[in-house]
């Protein structure tokens, strides 16, 4: 019996088994929740993106996007890359468009605000324009 228990291979196997059972999980337990933006929990991101896309689907915005040769997919893709606070800022500007209303003045205001969202950049034409004294 003593010889059996002192068998080197048996002792080694039992030692390894004890180590295996005693090993603590690596990298600790679970993971803490990361810091939050005060606005827009992740569940609201999709809502905000849809709100912005709703504004950009207005006829005046669509024309602007067409002139820029950007499609709605490009815009949505850009929006998904924004972090929560940046997305909220853009969504707030989209809210301003909605608040402008649908009347003539509302369309003008909406157009102005939409141009803040969608910038049209053309080749600088000033080189060909008559220079006058400022």
């Amino acid at each position: 019996m003593r010889k059996f228990l002192l068998n080197r291979r048996l002792v080694l196997a039992m030692a390894l088994w004890a180590v295996f059972l005693g090993v603590c999980p690596t990298n600790g337990f679970a993971f803490p929740t990361q810091s939050l933006a005060s606005l827009a929990p992740s569940a609201a991101r999709e809502y905000q993106i849809n709100k912005i896309m709703d504004v950009l689907s207005r006829p005046e915005a669509r024309l602007h996007l067409q002139l820029m040769k950007l499609n709605e997919q490009d815009v949505r893709s850009s929006l998904t890359k924004l972090d929560d606070s940046q997305l909220t800022q853009v969504a707030q500007r989209a809210d301003a468009v909605k608040a402008a209303g649908d009347g003539a003045l509302g369309v003008i205001i909406a157009l102005l605000i939409i141009t803040l969202l969608v910038v049209l950049i053309l080749r600088v034409s000033d080189k060909k324009v008559v220079v006058s004294k400022a």
């Binding site: 679970a30 929740t33 102005l112 950049i121 080749r123 324009v129 006058s132 400022a134």
Partner: protein, 336 residues
């Protein structure tokens, strides 16, 4: 009518404020945005070629860029950004001068088209002279130009007085509205600048001690910097105010688990769920892991499986971690 002209040969003494080291960058077609950004990036010691910015921002064939993508690109390069719509009025140009005096060159959007054709252009303002009533600007040409106050004001207005500020987050030394301060603190934290984040969270809480998000995030800063007791105090206080707030419960439970106090971790999270906390996967994972440290390992595996079901498929890191916890739970079950 051009809005810009070369600077005068002789400058008035004592009336010029100029930021040195903001080089004019000649732009290519449709790329005044990248040219402006190259100029400002260079000033901040982060030289980035306009072509690289163009590749990142422009889809081939497109003739424009979304303004917030400029800001987003700058953020990806470690800059903090603010897009401002400066209120109209007598002092709107004064706001731009303030940025110059702070040695922070603003990028402004001005209208360069005529009549109803809306074309816009980005320029970088890097100086001004009240005596001559001009701003010094990088306008996409290889040399500096001046823009008269009146010309700038009239061309800036159609863009809604749009202005982009970008600078290293450490450089922000002016008062910010609470939402912008939160944005900066969170941005600093995510870029690993814990000291800066802590400074801004404390500033927010000086003015608004009730800001729960700022308190929670400050708790996280303490946790990351091993000030566990300070973090615990914050999470416990938040849970007293909002017993169903999952994030605070999760992080307090996480601390308890690290301290080997599984039953207390379970109590915190079960209380949070009873008070309406969302069954988010990270909380379920913590709860499952806690149960796996008790004889009730089967319950632990149940919660971990529920966590797996809640985890977005795209979140490979979380999925791998929860799978690992499940297999560790199996080992622990076998051991017991």
């Amino acid at each position: 009518m051009s809005y810009r002209r070369p600077p005068p040969a002789e400058k008035g003494i004592g009336s010029i404020h100029l930021i040195e080291g903001v080089p004019p960058v000649a732009q290519k077609a449709y790329q005044c945005g990248p040219a402006a950004m190259e100029s400002v990036f260079h000033y901040w010691g982060n030289p980035t070629d306009a072509a690289e910015i163009t590749t990142a921002l422009y889809k081939p064939g497109s003739h424009g860029v979304l303004d917030f993508t400029l800001a987003e690109f700058a953020r990806s390069r470690g800059f903090w950004t603010q897009i401002l719509a400066v209120p109209e009025g007598e002092n709107s140009l004064g706001e731009l001068k303030t940025w110059v005096l702070r040695k922070i060159p603003p990028i402004v959007m001005i209208k360069t088209g005529i009549l109803w054709v809306p074309t816009y252009h980005f320029v970088v303002l890097k100086g001004f002279s009240d005596q001559e009533r001009v701003f010094y600007a990088n306008t996409g040409e290889p040399e500096t130009y001046v823009i008269d106050y009146g010309a700038l004001a009239s061309r800036w207005k159609p863009s809604g007085n749009w202005c982009l500020i970008l600078c290293p987050p450490e450089r922000v030394d002016w008062e910010l509205p609470e939402s912008a301060a939160e944005d900066l603190a969170l941005y600093a934290e995510r870029f690993g600048k814990q000291d800066l984040a802590e400074k801004w969270y404390l500033r927010i809480l000086e003015k608004n001690p009730a800001n729960q998000t700022a308190r929670f995030n400050l708790g996280n800063i303490y946790l990351k910097s091993n000030r566990v007791q300070e973090a615990k105090i914050i999470y416990e206080a938040l849970l007293k105010e909002k017993p169903g707030w999952g994030p605070a419960g999760n992080n307090l439970a996480w601390i308890y688990l690290e301290e080997g106090r599984a039953s207390e971790a379970i109590e915190v999270l079960q209380t949070a769920f009873k008070n309406g906390a969302e069954r988010h996967f990270d909380i379920l994972d913590t709860l499952g892991t806690a149960y796996c440290r008790t004889p009730d390992t089967q319950r632990g595996r149940d919660y971990l499986n529920e966590a797996l079901g809640q985890t977005p498929v795209a979140d490979k890191v979380s999925l791998d971690l929860i799978h690992r916890h499940l297999s560790e739970c199996g080992v622990l079950a076998h051991k017991s």
